[in-house]
Amino acid sequence: MFNRAVTAAQLKPWLKFNYILKNVTFTVRSFCNSCPRYSNKDDEPVKPSILVPEDFQAELDGETYCPPLAQPIKPHVHPIKKSFDLLGITGRNDPKTHNNLYFPRHCDILIIGGGIMGCSIAYWLKQRGHDNGLRVIVVEQDPSYTRASTVLSVGGLRQQFSLPENIEMSLYGAEFLRKSKKLLSGEGLEGPDVQFHPFGYLFLATEKGADQLIANHKLQTSLGAKIQLLSANKLKQKFPWINTDGVELASLGLENEGWFDPWSLLNGFRNKALEMGVEFVKAETVGFETQETIVPEQPGIGDSGCYHKLKRVHVRLHDGDIRTIDFSKCVMAAGAQSGKVSKLAGIGLGTGLLRNALPVEPRKRYVYCFHAPEGPGLDCPLTVDTTGSYFRREGLGGHYVAGKSPTANEEPGVANLDVDYTFFDQQVWPDVALRVPGFENIKLKSAWSGYYDYNTFDQNGVIGIHPYHTNFLFATGFSGHGLQQAPAVGRAIMELVLEGKFLTIDLSRFAFDRVIANQPVFEQNIV
């Protein structure tokens, strides 16, 4: 229990009045907020309803210290322009901002990152907030998405996970994609054509992994996914082009699995959000500003103290100007850069609850496109081999797309998006050619690379509110399977913001709390 959860206040004179006021109005407030207390007797500390392990209690008893963040700055405005500002004339058609409107100075909800997660969250929030209900601003560094993970993704959709939350999110993702043309259309705006290829995912397992595959399959079918288990013989009958050496069991997705076009979904979300009134700002986040709030003493809980509330973000425009945006809540959806940007808010640089940083960092992954005239025909699903290599058909001309997650000591550097072709020759092609004899004769056509927003803790998304900065939400760290879960995550964040709790899918196990409590939630197979 927090006995000294907040630092002692150094009462500044302009805050002292508030403190005195709260003392004077104590009797009235206590009637309104709690049972009236007429004595100063020491109340017993309130026992927590959950039992905290002893070695963790010591950590909780420590103070949570929020390090000093950005200094408050007042943006410099020319005095003549300032007087016109008051009249409301200038500020429009400002060529410095991305969308040529006056630079927004405040908003209700700020979303950092305009990739698929950010746009999905903006869409869901604004859909309930309509035109003037909620003011939502998305801060995106690069609106052409040259280095964004979303558009460089292979675009898979599968329900073959081992965690029920992941399965439910993907099921909803499939449902949303089916209705996306209608939902993301508007007046004068045609909905996106996501180009879903319904060919399924095929996971191959050796003897060691067969038990896990069976357990996963049971969970997936109980939640409504349609997955079929195939023995090695049945697999050979169904897909004659496959080499079943070493394969004990396979699981094939029959419905709602395949791949789609991430760029059109991103554009669909973004255009619909723009139509509903979300403001997209082209800027880079460089700092946060906090405001000290007095937390009054509550008997039995703790002394009075000072809580640093995140109030304002500093963003740098492309010409170097630094502007500020006040917000009420902030959502971190910056993808691969989320760990770095969260540090600007003090997450990872303080003590107590702010000691743990967001464990999300960029990891580079390669995708190779080759032509194989003797490859499998139309019914090639996205096949994930026992070695971790995957491949799928691309188009109708005999092209295929393949890749592999490297092992821990082979991780490529993330400074740029250059492709390493030796990785294909040494790692990907041997695995893929062994599994499909038709891939022995291929010609590599092209390749690209992209970043995973890799969660180094347990490779699953971080979705929820930070325990100290209660107006700071996370929606990041999906480590390669975020695209298919974006509609569900957007809806979950909308529920958290507007209702305070999850209504449809319970994602409380994916909260940031698990990083502090050191309780990883692992998924068994990662592509």
């Binding site: 039992l51 309509h130 049971k218 109980s222 019914d379 305070g500």
Partner: protein
Amino acid sequence: MAISYSRLTHLRLAEKFRRSCTSISSQRPVPVSSQISKIDHKKMMKPEKKEDRVIYELPKVYVEENTTGLALFSSNTNYGIKVIEVMNAIKFTPYGLRQTWDLFQEDKLLRSQIYIKERAEFLGPELATAHFLCFRGGKVRFHGQEDWITQDPDSDMLTSLPKFYVESYKVEAADCSKMTLIYEGLENMKNMENLKWLSLEGCPHIDDWCLDRISGEYGNTLEYLDIRNCHRVTDKGIASLSKMKKLKTLILGGHPEAKNLELVCLMLEDILPEITIRGIVYCDESLLKPSEAKE
């Protein structure tokens, strides 16, 4: 011929199918306990409200149990956003009104075709499908019978279908042409053992997702499929029919959005061993004529 059973027999049969119908159900029962790293703490977790999931929560700063004098006027739900939603529910512009009307119509269509579990439990999957389709203007033929069963144009009652579960009725052919079937409606046609013949000619709402559902559902048994004039079908949906290994006849035509139809059909013919595709013209006849005239 309507066969009537005693009440006890009816209950016994309903129970039997209640169990068989939950094989792939649309509801989500209790999930199996999922993977969490095992840390050995004594007395670690709080008693479960939910099923097997272990939830670890950090303690809250402000305790929520308050007995307040003014609690009568407070609530946990956030009504502010609901007020905004009610105010902005219908936009009174021409586009907004049309959008609201379309939403109502879609909702009505969905509610008329949603999967009803009790119907499948009571009648068994085959007869439930038959009732569902015939009531909405489709036709059904059972295995071993020659006549198609349709609805009388005059009445709502389906006199030629049994109203209780009969084991010998197995649906072999379903004619859904020109019905307004949607994706959620196709869920009513699941768990059939041996559907060989399916016609979806002229159904306006059939698209790639519906074809995905059909090929996932009847991938092992379907032999004849007719999807003429389904305007939303693209070549990706037709390519997904490659999952149906026993398909013998496929009838196409009238797909304005299918771009590479001939190529997809050629590739389908490579993969599916017994297929014949009707409705596709692979080469242009007029190009052949001048050379024949010369010779």
